[in-house]
């Protein structure tokens, strides 16, 4: 019985709705004014930060997919997912930069980069599957509080691994991807942005095809809707859930590598904040909705880019506050996200 029309009614619903509309409208006007003023006063910078934002957005989208896949199938906010991304970044640094000594952009190094991409994805996929197998699976029928708290604990454990592996200080290194950029009509376009976006889009396409078109994807969707029914149809639910965690983990691994290569720095505490931002993206798009996660990722990237980079605006030190304020407003006014559907409880 999923429907917005039948969701719990409230007496104050009309006053509340009106208030919501008005405040949303005012917020919209403020945002439009803010963007408009910046666009007119410094158009080149506007597009420059927009491109940076989109490039970050691609990373957010990749991480957000992991949240959304897992939430879609077992209704768990996997707090550890951001830290999995961090481990992906740290792993790719140690494997590619230290172990394979791949620094700077030679042909050999680009080959190794492609190799590392695959290995980092496998690495994070494995960790994610193991976490599910060891912890979440045993709590599948437990009250919701239990897996949530477990996920928070897992996040701490992964952070600890990152801390011991990477050290407490961030590590800076020379990337394979060029850190130069070109200019087009005054708009600065970093090459990394182009590479990140052009690597992300095929990954997203592959993932969406996998979920929508393949047998394994159908099993995922069936399991997400009703585990018991799926089991009766002969679907191996455990395997399907493991597969979902593997997919989400792989996306986090890819994002980790791309982050490391576009910023040339890794730190053990990357995961917490990027994870939260990515989760906000997932919520913005509608948790459980793949397209939504991608849309949300790019939107949040843009918003953050504008916030951080526009000459007339709050600036970078309010970046986190900005994103979390969006998260809170969303949760309050549109918990279903842009592309999601609200649900009500069965009686």
């Amino acid at each position: 019985m999923a429907s917005t029309t039948a969701s719990a009614p409230r007496a104050s619903v009309n006053v509340g709705k009106l208030l919501t509309r008005v405040s949303m409208l005012m917020l919209g006007i403020v945002v439009v004014y803010w963007l408009g003023r910046n666009l007119i006063s410094s158009p080149a910078q506007f597009f420059t930060v927009g491109i940076t934002g989109l490039s970050n957005g691609a990373l957010y989208a990749l991480i957000a997919l992991g949240y959304t896949l897992v939430y879609g199938i077992i209704e768990l906010i996997n707090f550890a997912h951001g830290d999995l991304f961090m481990l992906g970044a740290v792993f790719s640094y140690f494997f590619l930069t230290k172990f394979l000594a791949a620094e700077g952009g030679s042909a050999r190094n680009y080959g190794l980069l492609a190799l590392t991409l695959v290995i980092a994805m496998a690495f994070c996929a494995t960790i994610n599957v193991v976490i599910e197998r060891l912890a979440y699976r045993r709590l599948r029928d437990a009250p919701k509080l239990a897996p949530l708290i477990t996920a928070v604990g897992m996040s701490f454990i992964l952070q600890f691994i990152g801390l011991k592996w990477n050290g407490s200080a961030p590590r800076n290194f020379t990337t394979i991807l060029p850190n130069t950029s070109f200019e087009f009509q005054g708009v600065v376009v970093p090459y990394t942005a182009l590479i990140v976006v052009s690597l992300t889009i095929p990954l997203l396409v592959i993932l969406v095809t996998l979920v929508n078109k393949t047998r394994q994807g159908r099993a995922m969707r069936a399991t997400a809707q009703d585990k018991d029914a799926a089991r009766l149809m002969g679907i191996d639910v455990n395997k399907t859930i493991s597969f979902t965690f593997a997919l989400g983990g792989a996306m986090a691994g890819a994002a980790g590598l791309m982050f490391a290569q576009s910023y040339g720095t890794v730190a053990y505490n990357l995961g917490f904040q990027l994870g939260l931002i990515a989760f906000t993206s997932a919520v913005l798009g509608g948790v459980g909705n793949l397209n939504g996660a991608v849309l949300g990722g790019f939107l949040i990237g843009l918003i953050q880019g504008f916030n951080d980079g526009l000459p007339f605006g709050p600036g970078q030190k309010w970046s986190q506050t900005m994103v979390f304020t969006i998260l809170i407003l969303l949760m309050v006014y549109r918990p279903a996200g842009l592309l999601g559907k609200a649900t009500t409880e069965k009686v």
Binding site: K144, P147, L148, I149, G153, M154, F324, V347
Partner: protein, 416 residues
């Protein structure tokens, strides 16, 4: 079914055992209360009267393993863990941003009992430090009350729009809030040109406490400890009383089945808000207390880790169980402020290694949360009902079977 009247007499004998169940819990409470008071008095007396005259080794041992600062901190954490317990343990709402209330309370102390706002000079029962006559200096009790009220208001502001969300969404919103508030404090040295929080430099010193003419200087740690213990004691009392009353029942009902609770006339929003506000108040009072303990407020101390440490205290002790949470808070606060460092020193001295023990707190709290959830969800001193709730999945099959057995037995009974 008209056996009610007949059972009146039977009931009395059964009710006796029922009453004794209630008595059991109240006698348990009495024992724990006595234990708490004895422990507090003992710590106070030893530190106040024995330590100053004690041999050097004893002094050193106490200072390393059971320093008064750490004891005071433990009391503050008991207070806050019990506050979070009302939200998480009683009402079943996962709050991952509890540190925000601690921070807000801390800044209330920073604002109302220090020389920070030197644009004004206002003294009301306060105790300005020498050479800092300006600023606002209120009496510590007033500040505690103000901190509690201020955070309660914030609790309602945050809670009102978010408490109707599903539990996992609520966790995230509170987490976001727990991030925003400290960031605001860090950035708050220039809010439209006004220095509100002094940024990452923090506000210090916070005035020494002065009660009835007695000043608790930086070395009057034993007296301060007594004050914090009294605050913790008040929170214990409040928690126990609330649990057995109208609100406590409504909270437990919401924790078990929100929808059924609302169908029984329990207003969900208001009841959840009440738990949130009480929890926030405790956090705020804890914030004021902590600021007076360390004599300052520092934005960087209010991080996500603290929220998780306090949550761990609640989980370890057994969600909803006042005494369990108290012990959980004592143990974890001690490990966090003393244990890890001291054990690390001993370990490193003994092995000649150089292991950074405090960095292991990530691992300790992470593993603790995971293992507790996997193997002992009810905590170490569980309330009977929490044990049942947290193992609902495992008990479900068993209870179905017993239900059937009972049902069959019932049929016999009824067919007479």
């Amino acid at each position: 079914m008209a056996k009610g009247a007949k059972l009146r007499k039977e009931k009395q004998s059964v009710a006796v055992s029922g009453e004794s169940l209630a008595q059991q819990s109240s006698s348990q409470n009495r024992r724990w209360t006595r234990g708490f008071i004895i422990a507090v008095v003992l710590i106070y007396v030893i530190n106040k009267f024995y330590i100053p005259v004690a041999p050097m080794q004893v002094k050193v041992a106490f200072n390393t393993w059971l320093s008064l600062t750490s004891m005071g901190e433990i009391m503050v954490f008991i207070l806050m863990a019990l506050g979070l317990n009302i939200v998480v343990g009683y009402a079943g709402l996962l709050d991952l941003g509890y540190v925000a209330f601690w921070a807000l309370g801390g800044y209330v102390a920073g604002w109302l009992m220090s020389g920070f706002f030197d644009q004004v000079t206002f003294k009301f029962g306060g105790n300005p430090a020498k050479g800092l006559p300006h600023g606002i200096h209120l009496n510590v009790f007033l500040v505690l009350i103000a901190g509690g009220i201020f955070t309660a208001i914030w609790g309602v502001i945050i809670g009102a729009p978010t408490l109707r969300l599903k539990s996992d969404y609520l966790a995230l919103v509170t987490l976001g809030f727990g991030e925003i508030i400290p960031q605001f404090m860090v950035n708050g040295e220039n809010i439209g040109g006004f220095n509100m929080t002094n940024g990452s430099k923090g506000i210090n010193p916070v005035d020494n406490i002065k009660i009835f003419g007695f000043e608790f200087g930086p070395f009057a740690l034993a007296d301060k400890f007594l004050l914090y213990a009294a605050l913790a004691g008040m929170m214990i009392f409040l928690s126990l009383r609330l649990r057995d009353g109208r609100l406590g029942r409504a909270w437990l009902a919401i924790r078990e089945d929100e929808l059924a609770a609302s169908m029984m006339g329990v207003p969900l929003m208001r009841t959840k808000l009440a738990s949130y506000a009480v929890g926030a108040t405790a956090g705020g009072v804890g914030g004021v207390a902590f600021a007076t303990l360390i004599g300052g407020v520092y934005a960087e101390r209010f991080n996500f880790q603290i929220s998780i440490i306090i949550l761990s205290m609640v989980v370890l002790g057994g969600m909803g169980n006042v005494w369990g949470v108290m012990l959980g808070a004592t143990l974890l606060a001690w490990i966090n402020n003393t244990g890890l460092v001291q054990i690390g020193k001993i370990f490193n001295a003994a092995t000649g290694m150089n292991v950074d023990f405090p960095s292991f707190n990530f691992l300790i709290f992470g593993v603790l949360l995971v293992l507790m959830m996997l193997f002992r969800r009810e905590g170490f001193i569980p309330e009977a009902r929490v044990r049942l709730i947290m193992h609902e999945d495992e008990f479900a099959d068993v209870s179905n079977v017993t239900d059937q057995i009972k049902l069959e037995g019932h049929h016999h009974h009824e067919s007479h």
